[in-house]
């Protein structure tokens, strides 16, 4: 009896070991290193020199614009993704013929097999002067510029993160009990109020999951604004890249990184709370 419990504990430890070691080595230790850096000072030639000061945190307002841009981009980008993703997920879950469903779902996921970097480069050429603007020039609209505009950034974001939004919404719609829809119709609800009162409401957990997934990834986004926005809009991800690779102010970069992690956690908790409330106190695990 006692021995078997010991064996079970040992087995649990053994099975959890690799994952724990992985997290300690690649998450906890780097996080500690970043935290230590963040209270240090920039060495005269750049990099890190040991110190204990909160000067880096006091300096955070120097990147206020970057934080602000990120705080706008993340929800706006996630919302744009949601508006595009919901109808797709709805069609896939409730309207698409059964035999097509798997193929259509695969089509949603397949672009993920290629690196986002490659796909974003493809957009650079599609939107660049030799892409769509060349076609427009052919029919008489000269010198149209699509690349390096806010619209191009939004397009890139929606394109890049769409599958992350579609899949959770699809899952929650797919589980939907169809009899509820029939009941709603039988009781005289219009299709619109059925959608708002039943379908949308029951799919909210999926919506919130997709929304927070996309939003948290967008908080660290720097590639799409750089490539499709021409580097003119500066997000917190861009600030981090510059601080580590250009001005080599590691302590300030670390302080910003820590702050970004804390902000992400707050966003996650807030999203979780909201989601719990709107889905009628049903607890939803977002991650």
């Amino acid at each position: 009896m006692h021995g078997s419990r010991l064996r079970r504990n040992l087995l649990t430890a053994l099975l959890l070991g690799p994952a724990t070691a992985w997290l300690v080595v690649f998450l906890v230790l780097p996080f500690i290193a970043i935290a230590v850096f963040s209270v240090g000072e920039r060495a005269p030639e750049g990099g890190y020199q040991a110190a204990f000061t909160f000067a880096q945190y006091a300096n955070l307002p120097a990147r206020a614009t970057a934080f602000w841009n990120t705080m706008v981009l993340a929800p706006v980008g996630a919302l744009a993704c949601l508006l595009v993703a919901y109808p797709v997920a709805y069609y896939l879950a409730l309207r698409a013929p059964q035999r097509w469903r798997l193929i259509l779902l695969a089509l949603v996921v397949i672009p993920f097999w290629t690196s986002l970097l490659m796909r974003t480069y493809a957009w650079m050429y599609v939107l660049g002067g030799r892409g769509i603007p060349a076609l427009l020039a052919y029919i008489g609209f000269e010198d149209v510029r699509l690349i390096n505009t806010p619209g191009a950034v939004l397009l890139g974001i929606v394109y890049g993160y769409l599958p992350l939004m579609i899949l959770p919404i699809y899952v929650s719609l797919e589980r939907l009990d169809r009899r509820l829809l029939e009941a709603s119709a039988d009781l005289g609800a219009t299709p619109l109020s059925t959608f708002l009162g039943v379908t949308l409401k029951l799919s909210l957990p999926g919506v919130m999951t997709g929304f927070s997934l996309v939003m948290i990834l967008l908080l660290g986004e720097y590639l799409i604004p750089t490539l499709l926005g021409g580097g003119k809009v500066f997000f917190i991800g861009n600030a981090l890249v510059d601080l580590f690779l250009q001005s080599r102010n590691w302590p300030f970069g670390s302080a910003i990184a820590i702050t970004l992690v804390l902000v992400s956690v707050v966003v996650l908790i807030a999203a979780n709370r909201i989601s719990t409330r709107v889905s009628g106190a049903r607890r939803v695990d977002l991650i």
């Binding site: 841009n69 650079m124 002067g129 603007p133 021409g230 580097g231 690779l245």
Partner: protein, 387 residues
């Protein structure tokens, strides 16, 4: 989180596009593309870093079978490395970089894995001070002949009589203009910045690089390219913030935009200017008459180079004028070596993009070490980019 695949990229996005453009123009083969962008060797590098593959021995003349070099985009004749491999059996991994700061950051972090790299003049004293580079063993570089080097371009490789780096080539920083789109002739940085806010509105690019973007904004007022004076930098910042909303992009990857016709004017380095003009004749290269930057790129060997013998062997190979001349024809930047210049065809030596008139060269300044590491300029750049 899901970003790990980007963080580990062997090449920055900017350089990747450079190489992609070259591939599209057919100036490199697909295998070279994989090699140059580092995509092809990524797995091999990883295998080596975690110790699966044998580390090259430090034995006297053993060159091992591979080494890596950190350099700039569009900077080498791919055939150079293939021939080097044929001669020595050493495969060269090429890591392409976008800025000196990025190279410095990688070397400061340690274990870069490079056995040779290409720093620009103003970084060498910093590398020496940080103990990242060591004096070169000149006996291992018989192909280098200091007496044939133009001292104007080579002095910063030698500190207190000790040679830490030997020159590769030199060049200038001016701007490229699509003269079909912007027909008014321009000769100065003042015109560059004014045009960016007028006819060149939303079609002008500046470097994503504090040294040149701030430096050339300082030239608008005739201040030194390297100025660290508060009041002068404040004026430059005022100009930059005023121009910002009119820009097409803040990026050092300007060839694709210029080639596609999205951008009409950009800050530009000699070699890119020569390449753009060669392929699209209406793109002109202009040196601001107020001055601006002149630079020399050097070769140096990191102190912690994993394969020093191969680093020296490749460096010596590159110093052979017969090899260097091909490098020069491929990258389009002028050589510092008189022996190489003798081998160059006349039309190259007569190209005013590569060899500007003396009166345009005189006011140019070499970037200063203090400019590179100045935190004030770095913060100014961040304010400009986030504006």
């Amino acid at each position: 989180m899901s970003k790990s695949y980007r963080d580990g990229l062997p090449i920055s996005p900017e350089n990747f596009v450079d190489q992609l453009m070259r591939l599209k123009r057919g100036s490199i083969g697909r295998r070279d593309f994989l090699g140059l962008t580092g995509l092809g060797i990524a797995t091999a590098v990883m295998a080596r870093e975690i110790g699966i593959m044998p580390t090259p021995a430090f034995a006297a003349e053993s060159l091992g079978d591979r080494m890596s070099i950190a350099t700039w985009p569009n900077y080498h004749d791919p055939a150079t490395f293939e021939n080097f491999k044929k001669d020595t059996g050493v495969a060269v991994e090429v890591n392409v970089f976008g800025s000196n700061e990025e190279m410095l950051a990688k070397l400061q972090a340690g274990a870069s894995g490079w056995s040779l790299f290409v720093p620009t003049n103003y970084t060498i004293s910093t590398y020496k001070k940080l103990g990242i580079i060591e004096p070169l063993e000149m006996a291992k570089l018989p192909n280098f002949d200091g007496s044939q080097e133009d001292p104007r371009f080579t002095s910063e490789g030698t500190i207190e009589g000790v040679t830490y780096a030997v020159p590769k080539n030199w060049g200038t920083t001016g701007f490229a203009v699509n003269t079909k789109k912007l027909t008014k002739p321009m000769t100065s940085w003042k015109e560059f910045w004014d045009t960016a806010m007028a006819e060149g509105d939303s079609r002008t690019m500046v470097h994503d690089y504090q040294l040149t973007t701030i430096g050339n904004a300082l030239k608008y007022y005739g201040y030194s390219f390297n100025s660290l004076k508060q009041d002068e930098l404040a004026k430059a910042e005022e100009l930059l913030l005023k121009v910002k909303p009119h820009l097409f992009a803040v990026s050092s990857d300007y060839q694709p935009g210029m080639r596609a016709g999205d951008a009409w004017m950009t800050m530009c380095w000699t070699n890119d200017g020569a390449q753009l003009h060669r392929d699209i004749p209406e793109i002109a290269y202009v040196l601001g008459k107020e001055g601006g930057e002149i630079w020399t790129d050097f070769y140096a060997i990191p102190k912690d180079a994993p394969n020093k013998p191969a680093g020296y062997a490749l460096l010596n190979y590159l110093m052979n004028p017969q090899v260097a001349v091909k490098e020069h024809l491929a990258n389009g930047a002028p050589s510092t070596d008189a022996r190489v210049n003798k081998l160059l065809p006349k039309e190259v030596l007569d190209n005013p993009i590569l060899y500007p008139a003396a009166d345009l060269l005189t006011p140019l300044e070499f970037g200063a070490a203090a400019t590179l590491t100045d935190p004030g300029r770095a913060e100014l750049m961040a304010r400009f980019k986030s504006a």
